[in-house]
Each structure stands twice: as structure tokens, then as C-alpha cells.
């Protein structure tokens, strides 16, 4: 069974690009564009890897990450964070909150693929 990725992102073009890259590699990609309901979506349907944007409508990616790490059920979920806010303190905050990997936009397609594979494990 194909591994699942949940992409939480609100920028349509970026969603399309990531979906294409991962699908082509054999992943099942689901997307979710709203911050407020993201956690429910995760709890209802836990993926193998989460790709999380920071600036989301309703709720920020940091808040979602914090809740994920505090949730007994989702605590070990691999999270790849993507953000267009490239400052050092953004990375620091994400790492403090327990992100597995942090990437700054714009990214290279190959790197996203490689990271998702690594996070999903064998």
C-alpha cells in the first residue's frame, strides 16, 4: 500500500507542484488548505508524513505543530515544515517545537522528495 502524505498548504500553485512531484514517485497525497481544521483532519486520518506550511489561513503552522507534538496519538508523526519566512528565528522556533525537518521556500523538487522519503522511513 502506498505511503500517504498530507500536505497542509494554502497556495494553489505550490499544492499543484508538490502533489505532482510526490504522486509521480508513488505517494498518495492529500491536501488541506485551512489552518483551523488541520489538526482534526490529521487526527481523523493520520498520514505517514506531514508537509506543513507556516502561514496558513486561520491558524499558523507553528500552532499546529505544537498541538501535534502534544497529542499522544500524533506525537511521533514526522513533520516536514515549509515556509516562505526564511529568517533564522523561524527555523529556531520550529526546531524548538519539535519539527523533523525545516525547509525554506523556494525549494528544489528533488530535495522535497528526498526528505519525504527519509522521514517516512523504510
Amino acid at each position: 500500500m502506498a505511503k500517504r502524505v498530507l500536505l497542509i498548504e494554502d497556495e494553489p500553485n505550490i499544492i499543484e507542484a508538490i502533489c505532482f512531484i510526490l504522486s509521480r514517485d508513488g505517494w498518495t497525497v492529500h491536501t488541506h488548505a485551512d489552518g483551523t481544521t488541520a489538526l482534526e483532519r490529521l487526527a481523523a486520518y493520520p498520514p505517514d508524513v506531514v508537509i506543513l506550511d507556516v502561514m496558513l489561513p486561520g491558524r499558523s503552522g507553528y500552532d499546529i505543530l505544537q498541538d501535534v507534538r502534544h497529542s499522544p496519538q500524533l506525537r511521533h508523526l514526522p513533520v516536514l515544515m515549509l515556509t516562505a519566512r526564511g529568517q533564522a528565528k523561524d527555523r529556531e522556533l520550529a526546531e524548538r517545537l519539535g519539527v523533523d525537518h525545516f525547509m525554506t521556500k523556494p525549494f528544489s523538487n528533488a530535495e522535497v522528495l528526498e526528505r519525504v522519503r527519509a522521514l517516512a522511513g523504510p
Partner: protein, 893 residues
């Protein structure tokens, strides 16, 4: 034989000569060529007013009567100059820092600017100095009479008193002419100082000449003179230990307590460093003055008839030997000694009387408060002239009353003892912070009373003011109150007795009263400043000249308001004063104006403090005079100033805190702004990079290729738009935008905007006829940009199933406004303030495609055009009102 008329002519010529010197010196000082006048030599010579006619004539008489005891009069000052010059230095520094005008001013100022103390010290000084002035009148009169006698005609009593009156009148005229030309006592009397320096040289030369004549011309050499001394009764004199100690102490104290000594030592001092020279040169001068005293006395006793007055040996010896030229020189020396003392003492006393008695009385009598400075100056000058006349009149009166009979030295000692009553308050005031005004006043009055009782009143002679019974048995028969036997102490010499009791009781009362009373706030402040004067004032420095002050002010001002600004300011001020260049005179008006100017940059308190540091002591003001008049007002003013300063500091601190908070907020905003820009730029770049990589790597069908290329293209456009918006906003915010004014109609402009907004599927409802009635004259392109933005926003954000926009034109407060109202859900009340800020996109929906700069740009544009834009809550959907610029929006019909 010297005729009496010739003598008078010579005396007058000499006085005229002094007058000329003083006049020339004043002229040079006015022209600024007075550097040599402020030399340490002149300063030292001016101190020689210590050597009065008492020293010139009286020392010889003193030696003839009491042997070497006369030396105590020289010993005291020498000890002070050599060993205690640091006390003098402190006095000079205090005098300079606090612009002290007299010894009464010093005491008054130290003890909280007390009017009462000023009056007490002034009265004490007048009473104490009066015998001394009488002494000078007496000696000059005697010297005239000696010449008259030598010419073969002995003077009668009336002739003596008439001559005394003439001498007093002459001195009064000279002193008034030169002592009251300047109002400010700190503007030192250059002319007088130079004249007394010349007199110092004349009297020293005269005495040395007589001495040399006596030793080598009459006695026949040093060895013979010594032999004569050994044979004379002077050698047999047994010195009294208590008298030596007491007299040395009194004359040591006198050098700082005598009003005239204080005048030359402190007030006329132009440079603290001159004290260093004076500390060895003045004792040397005293030594030279005392060198031939004993030989003259001995030879006089030896050669002159038994009844001859030893006080006049200096004159009578040359006359008896028919050396008329020498006698004339000696006469001029005596005249110099007397005149220089009287002039300086009178000036010092007149300053005190006018500053501490006349002017305060005049000011409190005129309570209307409306004073112009010229008014006060005239009063002060007049007060000083009258005081000079008054002081000399008193001196003359004492001369008449005392009958001119007492020995010169005795009168001198009475005067000294009275004047040194200031000593405890003076020394206590500058070394002990605990000293209070009550202590000073009580001590002074006690000392004064004891002195008057035990020495001054008895000096008029038994039976004159005090009856013989009173002297012998005390008042009402109370034995322990006898003037010469206070508390039963009858074994002492009257002078020593008086010195001991007056100073002892004075000091004890001063100390006890100070301990038992509390100082006022102003007293505390003055006390601290006096006692710690070296910590409060800058190091030794010559009196600052006016132009140096201006330069310092310029340097400081440049630091505060910038070089070109400051220079322009100073140049303007200088031009107003009719001067070239950048350095105006430091007048009070200029300082005030400058302070106001600087206050604008650093706040009033700081500007005041900074200017105060530089101009301290340089500006002339009426305030000083008023301060003497009303001490209470002074204290209130002081505390008000303190409060004002602390309020000022509070205000400054608050302003700083606010500025700091603003800066922090700004830096946070700037941070957020950069973060936002980063986000807005990176988002389209991410799509571009990702899809271009896909295209590059291949393996995508033609359909996909076309689609991805389209995305890349759109995102590139989005980037361009964003950059355009950012630049536009930056230009608008910096105010660099140039408006391109055109005329047009609102209806046409809205047509254009709706078309350009590209909001397909948006229903727009408008009243075109109403719009057509509005004529515009403004930057139409910018206004259209605002409209486009608002219309496009409806397309982007209106969540209604069938978006609809209503455009209404209306008159609001005499101005035309255009409302844009959609049928969406509107904007939450808490967000209505936020939407006009940069990057304030509320929903953060990528679909909207904007970066959140649109409304910020609209707000800037409307501000530039002279209109406004605002959100209108409660209108159904989102509603924006654009208020058109006032004057350009005139109705066409």
C-alpha cells in the same frame, strides 16, 4: 623753609598725579589693554594698604613707646600669608564663584543670603573702621601742622579741625570720582588699584629714604646705630607675652577681616595665582617697611627735644636737620598711606552700606515691583556716593570727638579688635557646614557688644561717654561688669582683655547657637557650596573675559544645534549688536535668547544648566539686588526652580521612554515588514522554481507543459505587481510623489476604474448622472488607482454568491464623498483599523493574489491628494468611503 602754601600745592599736585594715573588706567582697561594691570606685582602692591599712616608714622611712635612690640602688627599678616595662604585661596575662590562684593556680602551669602547678617556686619564694619579713618585724618592733619610749626607758627585747635575737614572733603571727592564709576563691584576698580600700587611704592621709598638718612646721615653708620639702640630705653623694654600673642593674633585675623583688606585681597583679585606671589612678596614688603622703624625711633629720641611726639619722628627728624626735600618725600609717603587706606576702606564700606542697607530698604519701600534695570543702577550709584560721604563724615566726627589726642597705635588696635569680630562667622562659615545664621548673628552681636563695652566706648576717654565711676566700679556698681575687668579679670592689659573676652564669647556663642538652631534650605545649600568650594567650581583660572565666554557658548551650541545653525545664530546676534564675526557680547538678553534656542534641542533644564556652567558669574542682573532685598522670596524662587527642574527632568525621562518604546515598536514593525516581504516574494518564486524544474527535467506531456508555463508566467507577473506596489508605497510614504493634475468628471473616472479592475461577474450599481455632476481637478490617475483597488477588492474578497457593488456619491460636511459598498459579510469591527496597514491581508488566501498593500497604498494616495479614505461599518457589507479633495471637487453646475 618750606612754606605751608607750597606744601599744600605739592599735596594737591600729588593727588592730581594719582588722579591722572587712575584715569589713564581706567581708560586702558576700557580699551582692553589692561593685562599688565592684572599682574601679581600690582596685586601685591595693592595689599600694602595694610600699611596705613599708622604704620608709616605710628610704628616709630609705637617702637619709641613699647619697644619691639610694634613687630606684632607685621608678624600677624606674615604668618597668614606664608602659613595660611590656603585660607586666603579659599576666600578668593568663594569670592569669585559667588560674585562676592564685600565681607558683609560673604557672611550674608554664606548664611542663606541673610539680610539681617549683612546689616550687622555692615554696621560692625562702619563702627570698627570709623576710628581707623579718623586715625588717617589725624595723621595727615598732624603732618600738615608739623610743617606749619616748622615754618614758625603753631596751629591752634580750630585750625587742626578745619584742616581735618578739608582733608576729609578732598578724600570724599577723590573716592566718589573713582570708586563709583562702575556699578558692579565685581567689575574691579582698575584705576584705584593702580593708584594705590603707586602709593605703595611712594610710601616704601619715603620710609626707606628717611631710614637711610637716619642711619648713615645722622647716626653715622650701622655700627653706631646699633650702639645707639643698645643705649636707648627701647632695648630695656620687657615684652609682655600675653600682649605679643594677642596682638599677633589680632593682626593676623585683621588681614582677612578688615573690609579694605577683603576688598583688595578678594574682590579686586583677578587671578587666584597672584596669591602665590603675594604670599612671599607681601611679607617682604612688610619687612622692608619695618626695617628702619627702630633706628628712626632711637635717633629721634636721641636728637629731638624730650616733648616731641614720636608718632611724627619720620617727619620731624628730616625737618629738624633741614632736609626739606626728604621731609617733603616723607610727607608724601604719609599722605599716600593715609589716602590709599581711606579710599579703599571707604569704597568697601560704601559698597556694603549701599548693598546691604540702602538698596534693600529702597526695594522694599517700592513694593510695586515694576523696575527697570537703569532705575536700580542709578539708585545704587547714588547710595554709594552718599555712603562714601557718610563714612568720611563719621570718621571726621570721631576725629573731632576723640580730640585727636590718643596715640595712633592705640586707635589702630581698637579698630582691629572691633573688626576681627567677623572672624568666627567667617572661618566657621567657610569650614563648618553646621554653622547657622543664628549662630553667626548671635556671635557677631556678642563680640560686638563686648568690644564696644570693653574697648571702643572707653576709648573716647574717661568722662566722655563713660563716667569715671562706671569705669572704676561697673554699671550700677556691678563689679564684674567693669569695662576693663570683665568677670573680675582685672590683671590683663585693657587691649588683651578686650581681645580675649570679645573673641572668646563671640566664638562660644557662635558655636552654641549654631548647634542649637537649624539651617534653612538655602543656608544648607550655600553652606555646602562655600565649604566645598573647590569641588563645586572649576580650577584656578583668570576671570573669564567676555569674548572667551562667547566662544565657549558657540562651541557648546555647535554641539547641540549643529555647526552651521549655531554660527548663523551667533552671527545674527553679533550683527544685532553691531559687531562683525561670530562672537557677540554675552549680554543677558543674548544668553536668554540662546537658552531659549537651545531648549528646543535639549530641553529647558539642560540648556539652563549648560549655559549656566559657561556664563556663571559673567552676566549682570538685577536679580542679585532683589535677592538681597527679599530673602523669603529668594528661597521660594529657589524651591520653585528646583521643582521646575525636577518636573522638567521627569518630562524628559518620559519623552525618552516614549521615544524608546516607539523605536522598539518601529524595529518590531520593520522586522515584521521584512518577514512579510520575504514571504510575499518567496511564495511566487517557489512556484516558479518548482515548475521550471519540472519543465527542465522533462517527462511531461504537452498539456502539462503549457499549463506549467502558464503558472510560471502568472507568478512572474504577480512578483512584478508586488514589486511595483512596494515601490509605489515607498514613493508615496516618502512624499516624493509628483502629482499630475488634470480635470475630469467622476463618472468617466469610475468607468475607467471598473473596466480596469477586471472584476468580471461583479454587478455594479451606480447613479451615473449624479457622478457626472462632480467635476474633478486632481491627479486622476492616482484617484483611479484608489477606485480600481477598491473595486478589485470586492472581486477578491466578497464572499457573497452573487457579488454586488454599490457606488454612491454624497455630500459630507461640504465635501464630496464616494462610497463603495459590497454585499459581502463585511469586516469585523476589531479589524477595521488594521486593514489600511501594510500586509494586513486578513484572510491570507493565496487565491486573492494580493500582498495586502492595496489599502495601504490607497490611504497614502488619498493623503497626498488632500482627501481621505476610511472604512464605514454597519453598511451591510464592506463599505469604504473616499472623501475627495476639498477644493478640486467643486460641483460643475
Amino acid at each position: 623753609m618750606v612754606s605751608f602754601n607750597l606744601l599744600v600745592a605739592v599735596a594737591l599736585a600729588y593727588v592730581a598725579f594719582l588722579f591722572l594715573i587712575a584715569f589713564a588706567a581706567e581708560r586702558r582697561a576700557e580699551q582692553g589693554r589692561d593685562a599688565w594691570m592684572r599682574s601679581s606685582t600690582i596685586y601685591t602692591l595693592s595689599l600694602s594698604i595694610y600699611c596705613t599712616a599708622w604704620t608709616f608714622y605710628g610704628a616709630v611712635g609705637y617702637a619709641a613707646r613699647s619697644g619691639l612690640e610694634y613687630l606684632t602688627i607685621y608678624l600677624g599678616p606674615t604668618l597668614v600669608m606664608v602659613g595660611w595662604w590656603w585660607v586666603l585661596r579659599k576666600l578668593v575662590r568663594i569670592g569669585r564663584t559667588h560674585r562676592i562684593t564685600s565681607i558683609a556680602d560673604l557672611i550674608s551669602s554664606r548664611f542663606g543670603k541673610s539680610t539681617a547678617l549683612g546689616v550687622i556686619v555692615t554696621l560692625l564694619a562702619v563702627v570698627g573702621t570709623t576710628p581707623y579713618i579718623a586715625l588717617q585724618l589725624q595723621s595727615v592733619t598732624f603732618s600738615f601742622s608739623v610743617f606749619a610749626e616748622a615754618a614758625g607758627r603753631e596751629w591752634q585747635g580750630t585750625e587742626l579741625t578745619v584742616a581735618g575737614l578739608w582733608v576729609a572733603a578732598g578724600l570724599a571727592i577723590f573716592t566718589i570720582l573713582f570708586g563709583t564709576r562702575n556699578l558692579d563691584a565685581n567689575e574691579r576698580h582698575h584705576g584705584i588699584v593702580i593708584a594705590i600700587a603707586v602709593e605703595a611704592v611712594v610710601k616704601l621709598c619715603a620710609l626707606l629714604a628717611v631710614g637711610i638718612f637716619v642711619v648713615w646721615g645722622l647716626a653715622g653708620g650701622v655700627r653706631e646705630t646699633l650702639a645707639l639702640i643698645d643705649a636707648s630705653p627701647i632695648a630695656a623694654w620687657k615684652p609682655s607675652g600675653s600682649r605679643w600673642v594677642a596682638l599677633t593674633f589680632v593682626s593676623a585675623a585683621a588681614i582677612i577681616c578688615l573690609p579694605r583688606m577683603f576688598q583688595v585681597l578678594v574682590v579686586e583679585n583677578s587671578d587666584e595665582r597672584h596669591l602665590g606671589t603675594a604670599s612671599w612678596a607681601f611679607p617682604l614688603y612688610l619687612f622692608a617697611m619695618s626695617l628702619f622703624v627702630v633706628p628712626i625711633a632711637v635717633v629721634g629720641l636721641d636728637r629731638l627735644p624730650a616733648g616731641a611726639n614720636p608718632d611724627l619722628f619720620v617727619l620731624t627728624l628730616p625737618l629738624a636737620e633741614r632736609r626739606e626735600g626728604l621731609a617733603m618725600l616723607s610727607f608724601l609717603g604719609g599722605l599716600s598711606s593715609a589716602t590709599s587706606m581711606v579710599i579703599v576702606a571707604t569704597i568697601a564700606l560704601a559698597t556694603m552700606v549701599s548693598n546691604h542697607i540702602v538698596v534693600p530698604a529702597w526695594l522694599s519701600a517700592r513694593s510695586d515691583g515694576a523696575m527697570v534695570s537703569g532705575d536700580v543702577r542709578r539708585v545704587v550709584v547714588m547710595a554709594r556716593r552718599l555712603s562714601i560721604l557718610g563714612v568720611l563724615a563719621l570718621g571726621y566726627l570721631y576725629f573731632r570727638l576723640s580730640g585727636g589726642g590718643a596715640a595712633l597705635a592705640a586707635i589702630g588696635l581698637i579698630s582691629f579688635t572691633g573688626l576681627v569680630q567677623v572672624l568666627p562667622a567667617l572661618i566657621g562659615g567657610i569650614f563648618w557646614r553646621g554653622a547657622t545664621r543664628w549662630g553667626a548673628a548671635a556671635g557677631l552681636l556678642t563680640g560686638f557688644a563686648v568690644w564696644a563695652w570693653t574697648l571702643f566706648l572707653p576709648s573716647f576717654g574717661e568722662g566722655n561717654l563713660m563716667s569715671a565711676t562706671l569705669m572704676a566700679q561697673g554699671p550700677f556698681g556691678i563689679g564684674w561688669l567693669r569695662p576693663y575687668g570683665l568677670l573680675g579679670l582685672t590683671t590683663l592689659d585693657p587691649v588683651v582683655h578686650a581681645i580675649l573676652w570679645s573673641l572668646l564669647l563671640n566664638g562660644a556663642v557662635f558655636f552654641l547657637a549654631s548647634i542649637l538652631t537649624f539651617p534653612t534650605p538655602l543656608e544648607r545649600l550655600q553652606g555646602a557650596q562655600f565649604v566645598n568650594v573647590f569641588e563645586h567650581s572649576p580650577g584656578p583660572r583668570a576671570w573669564s573675559t567676555r569674548s572667551a565666554g562667547a566662544e565657549d557658548l558657540l562651541v557648546m551650541s555647535q554641539r547641540i544645534i549643529g555647526a552651521s545653525e549655531a554660527q548663523a545664530l551667533f552671527q545674527r546676534a553679533a550683527r544685532r549688536q553691531g559687531k562683525e564675526g561670530y562672537l557677540p557680547d554675552v549680554t543677558p538678553a543674548f544668553v536668554e535668547a540662546l537658552e531659549r534656542e537651545l531648549s528646543g534641542s535639549v530641553g529647558a533644564a539642560t540648556a539652563h544648566a549648560m549655559i549656566g556652567q559657561i556664563t556663571e558669574g559673567a552676566s549682570v542682573s538685577v536679580e542679585d539686588l532683589i535677592a538681597v532685598a527679599d530673602e523669603a522670596a529668594q528661597i521660594m524662587e529657589y524651591s520653585a526652580r528646583l521643582e521646575e527642574k525636577s518636573r522638567e527632568q521627569e518630562r524628559t525621562a518620559r519623552a525618552l521612554r516614549e521615544a524608546n518604546a516607539k523605536l522598539t515598536a518601529l524595529s518590531i514593525q520593520k522586522d515584521a515588514f521584512l518577514s512579510q516581504i520575504s514571504h510575499e516574494l518567496r511564495t511566487p518564486m517557489t512556484s516558479i522554481r518548482s515548475f521550471s524544474e519540472l519543465l527542465r527535467d522533462g517527462g511531461i506531456g504537452p498539456e502539462g507543459q503549457a499549463r506549467y508555463a502558464g503558472i510560471i508566467h502568472d507568478e512572474a507577473l504577480r512578483l512584478t505587481r508586488l514589486l511595483d506596489d512596494l515601490l509605489d508605497l515607498a514613493v508615496l510614504e516618502n512624499g516624493q510623489v509628483t502629482l499630475n493634475r488634470q480635470e475630469g468628471r467622476l463618472s468617466d473616472l469610475l468607468d475607467r476604474a471598473i473596466a480596469a479592475a477586471g472584476a468580471e461577474g461583479l454587478a455594479v450599481r451606480r447613479n451615473r448622472a449624479r457622478e457626472a455632476a462632480v467635476a474633478l481637478e486632481t491627479d486622476l490617475d492616482r484617484l483611479a488607482q484608489v477606485f480600481i483597488n477598491l473595486i478589485a477588492n470586492v472581486g477578491k474578497y466578497c464572499a457573497a454568491p452573487r457579488p454586488e457593488l454599490r457606488i454612491e456619491v454624497l455630500e459630507v460636511g461640504g465635501r464630496t464623498a464616494v462610497d463603495f459598498i459590497d454585499n459581502g459579510s463585511g469586516i469585523a469591527p476589531e479589524d477595521t483599523e488594521l486593514i489600511f496597514e501594510k500586509f494586513s491581508r486578513l484572510t491570507d488566501q493565496g487565491t486573492a493574489g494580493g500582498a495586502g498593500l492595496g489599502l495601504a497604498i490607497c490611504r497614502e494616495i488619498m493623503a497626498r491628494l488632500g482627501g481621505a479614505i476610511g472604512y464605514q461599518p454597519g453598511r451591510g457589507g464592506a463599505a469604504f468611503r473616499v472623501t475627495l479633495p476639498a477644493r478640486e471637487a467643486l460641483a460643475a453646475e
